[in-house]
Symmetry: C2
Subunit: 168 residues, 2 copies
DNA sequence: TATTGTTATACTCTATAACTATA
DNA sequence: TATAGTTATAGAGTATAACAATA
């Protein structure tokens, strides 16, 4: 149990030590990543609420639609925002009441809708997005361009690891 | 408004272009960081619930106490977990009911408590923490040791930026 | 008067499951 | 029978503010 036949006890110890060190390093990284993300998220959440009276999920849904002018179906939004369908219905309802998004019936599939930004929604989001982007740039100004690129690449690695099955 | 006296229009354009590019890069980094963190967090949350029937905040509170065997006061826990006091009361109540933590009266300040792990809590946490650490190592195995160190350093930069006023 | 912790309340976000209407 | 979206419900987590006890 404490010995392997392919290595001396010393090698064995080294290996276990390295393993433990790696575990601790990964844990340290994860805890720092989590706390940093939470702090930034809270900061942005507060600013969005104070400046624009909008919540992060609502902002996110509008951001998704901004990137897809032809609209997205409820199921698509659910996948992209990583929440279940019922929640998308609720957020869409609220945004529709405020005349920021609209449901457009799909001619080919009468069960489905495409959700799109209204002109008012597009205008409102454009303004918010510009300010939001400046906030993010400010909060990340401590990193060099190269560092940001490295970090983007590393995060992609992690993400790929998480969902090995690519979406078809 | 569209001109500066220290540079030609061309330089000016370059500067604006760089600024926009930097904004986009920061935004891209933030969105990737947020989505990756959410995915890992959800994965860990689900595993904790399925394997140990414990939630992430409860696990986090126990983790804080593990690192401070002499106990932490409610206010300390509130700061460290980045949530308001009322929530700490609730989580502590639940853990105390399950005999995992205990409130110990502070002799010097009779308003205050120290929260500590019970022997049972320490034992339970030790087991959970070991498994949890292995999960994290697994989820972060896509990165090299050097990369992890780089990322830890970069995240520290970001965090420092966020709270320039150090805790005294 | 300020601080520690508790209580009460309300709100947002979330998942689950049953439901409808179409495919 | 399967899929797109809705509804209803319950629960976790959060913040706020009023409160009691103590400093």
């Amino acid at each position: 149990m404490s010995q392997h036949n392919h290595s001396s006890p010393a090698d064995n110890l080294d290996m276990e030590t390295r393993l433990t060190q790696d575990h601790h390093q990964s844990l340290k990284l994860w805890l720092r990543m989590l706390s940093t993300t939470v702090m930034i998220e809270n900061e942005i959440r507060n600013r969005l609420r104070n400046e624009f009276e909008i919540t992060l999920p609502r902002f996110d849904l509008m951001a998704q639609l901004e990137r897809h002018p032809d609209g997205l179906r409820m199921g698509e939004l659910s996948k992209r925002m990583m929440v279940t369908g019922g929640n998308i219905t609720g957020i869409t309802d609220q945004l529709e009441q405020e005349n920021l998004v609209q449901r457009v019936a799909d001619h080919k599939d009468r069960r489905a809708y495409s959700v799109k930004l209204t002109p008012a929604g597009r205008k409102a989001f454009k303004n918010m997005a510009q300010v939001h982007e400046a906030w993010v740039a400010e909060l990340f100004s401590g990193l060099e361009t190269d560092q940001k690129n490295q970090m983007i690449a590393m995060l992609s690695c992690l993400k790929t690891q998480l969902k090995p099955q690519a979406e078809s």
